[in-house]
């Protein structure tokens, strides 16, 4: 039984702080004729890919999701969250490459069916890449007056074997943004780390990173930063309060939805983008 559309794994953040991303992505993908259909059930991916060679325990969570897809007759899973993409993809690759690990995993899973290793993980960008023509067609009014700083962070690009583009010089996000008609700054900080989970107990580290990343975008004249990772979004958006800057941070699907003339909610933004969007004539 295959779903009509892309078999979609949300991850916990999409149901909480990242819900603006999910809602806008759902609308955009529907509009592009590539609807996302949420998996019937799913588990937290684990959020951090364990780097220990012998730590199989922390591979169970992502593998359960792959197993669920397998049992539903699906061989592809699509994610929106960069973090989930990275964790699921690395787990899926590991099970393909290391037979011993797969065997250990299946022995532990015990009463559950064996994972056969055949589920592929994709990110939203993989689908958008094939839909550039449709994206362009759907743009109601090109966002010509808007200067955007594209930002990738780490999870889409590192490690190399799960990267969705060139790890040092990616251009996939820029290629989508150009279709919306925006002006792009050459963002040399776009592949730098936002501080990630230091946000939990070392916000001083995150604040330094944010200062550096947002400061660069500001000096280059960007009106907003656009990205796809909910954790990067939280750090760059929320922790900007510790800096002198106030640049809105949007998910790429939010900007795309606005360019398509779709109505979206923007609830989880510490820096409210409304006045900027109104000023640029993008949102009334």
């Amino acid at each position: 039984m295959m779903v009509e559309g892309h078999y979609y794994y949300p991850g916990c953040t999409m149901k909480e702080k990242g819900s603006d991303y999910e809602k806008s992505a759902m609308k955009v993908m529907e509009q592009l004729g590539e609807p996302l259909v949420e998996m019937e059930d799913w588990y937290c991916c684990g959020a951090v890919q364990s780097l220990s060679e012998d730590d199989i325990m922390h591979q169970i969570a992502p593998i359960r999701t792959l197993l669920m897809a397998q049992e539903a007759g699906e061989d592809e899973v699509v994610t929106l969250c960069d973090m989930c993409y990275n964790v699921l993809k690395q787990a899926s690759e590991r099970m393909k490459e290391k037979e011993d690990d797969l065997e250990t995993m299946n022995e532990f899973l015990d009463e559950d069916p064996d994972y056969e290793g055949g589920v592929e993980i994709y990110h939203l960008f993989h689908i958008l890449k094939e839909k550039k023509g449709e994206i362009e067609e759907n743009v109601e009014e090109p966002l010509e007056d808007l200067v955007v700083a594209p930002y990738y962070g780490c999870m889409l690009l590192r490690p190399d074997h799960v990267a969705i583009d060139n790890t040092e010089d990616p251009e996939i996000m820029e290629s989508f943004l150009k279709l919306l008609g925006v002006e792009l700054i050459e963002n040399e900080k776009r592949t730098e780390c936002c501080g990630s989970y230091h946000t939990v107990n070392r916000s001083d580290i995150v604040e330094k990173r944010v200062e550096d990343i947002v400061g660069y975008a500001a000096r280059e004249g960007a009106d907003m930063i656009v990205l796809s990772c909910p954790l990067c979004h939280f750090n760059l958006d929320y922790h900007q309060r510790a800096t002198e800057f106030e640049i809105p941070v949007l998910y790429i699907t939010e900007l795309m939805a606005l360019a398509f003339g779709l109505d979206i909610e923007m609830e989880h933004h510490s820096i409210d983008p409304t006045s900027l969007l109104e000023e640029k004539g993008i949102k009334e």
Partner: protein, 239 residues
């Protein structure tokens, strides 16, 4: 063979051998673990509870011969088997967070369950909790629901929980499943679940004394008649 001998032989066949904290006992087949322990001479002052599978006080861990897995059940609901290795668990303490259900405000939290029970974020999806549950609850699934802030699903999936605590005892992440789920059910009931109009109407009827006469009748009824009435009561199917 006369009748008495047959009876004796049958009785002999019906005995099973169990081990209680290392000592061997022969007990009649068909007893529950709880009654078998009593048969063997143990007296419960705690850890026996309702004996009806509702209170969760008699959670027990056991092993059977030639089986590498530990098994978990309620001692009052599980029949003894030959070669069972038994132990009775004492009451097991688990941290329960303090909160006043009248005071907590789920709207003020991104994820209130996670804020009170942070260990939930340590779940690695091993599913050991689900395997331990004598109530066949999808324990891991409700922990995962809590992790993503879905209070309703956590409340619904955990509804049959009787707080025996086996899930938390087995959890490698030290999650306090049952306390967390109880909080979910309380929050759901108080802040999210729609109010029942029917309940309000029934309370009104009661207050108006609509059932006073019938109640009086029941109170005065002879025990045998009451029993008969109870056994013959009409139970309507749901829906």
């Amino acid at each position: 063979m006369d009748k008495e001998e047959t009876d004796e032989e049958e009785t002999e066949e019906e005995m099973v051998e169990i081990f209680v904290m290392g000592s061997r006992y022969r007990v009649p087949e068909g007893l529950t673990i709880l009654t078998a322990l009593e048969y063997a001479g143990y007296k419960f002052t705690r850890g026996c509870g309702c004996r009806g599978g509702f209170c969760g006080a008699c959670a027990t861990v056991y092993r059977t011969e030639d089986e590498y897995k530990l098994k978990m059940d309620l001692a009052c609901q599980t029949a003894v088997e030959d070669g069972m290795f038994l132990v009775q668990l004492p009451f097991m303490p688990a941290v329960r967070e303090d909160y006043d259900i009248e005071e907590v405000d789920p709207e003020e939290h991104e994820n209130i369950l996670l804020d009170y029970y942070t260990e939930v974020a340590r779940c690695v999806s091993c599913n050991t909790c689900t395997k331990a549950c004598p109530q066949d609850i999808e324990v891991m699934d409700y922990v995962q629901s809590a992790l993503r802030g879905d209070i309703e699903r956590t409340a619904e999936l955990s509804f049959d929980c009787i707080h025996c605590g086996l899930c938390s005892m087995r959890c490698p992440a030290d999650i306090k499943h049952y306390h967390m789920a109880q909080m979910a059910r309380r929050i759901y009931a108080k802040y999210e679940q729609p109010d029942s109009e029917e309940l309000a109407l029934r309370v009104e009827e009661l207050e108006e004394g609509k059932y006073d006469e019938k109640m009086e009748e029941l109170v005065k009824m002879e025990k045998e008649k009451l029993k008969k009435m109870y056994d013959e009561r009409d139970i309507k199917e749901e829906g």
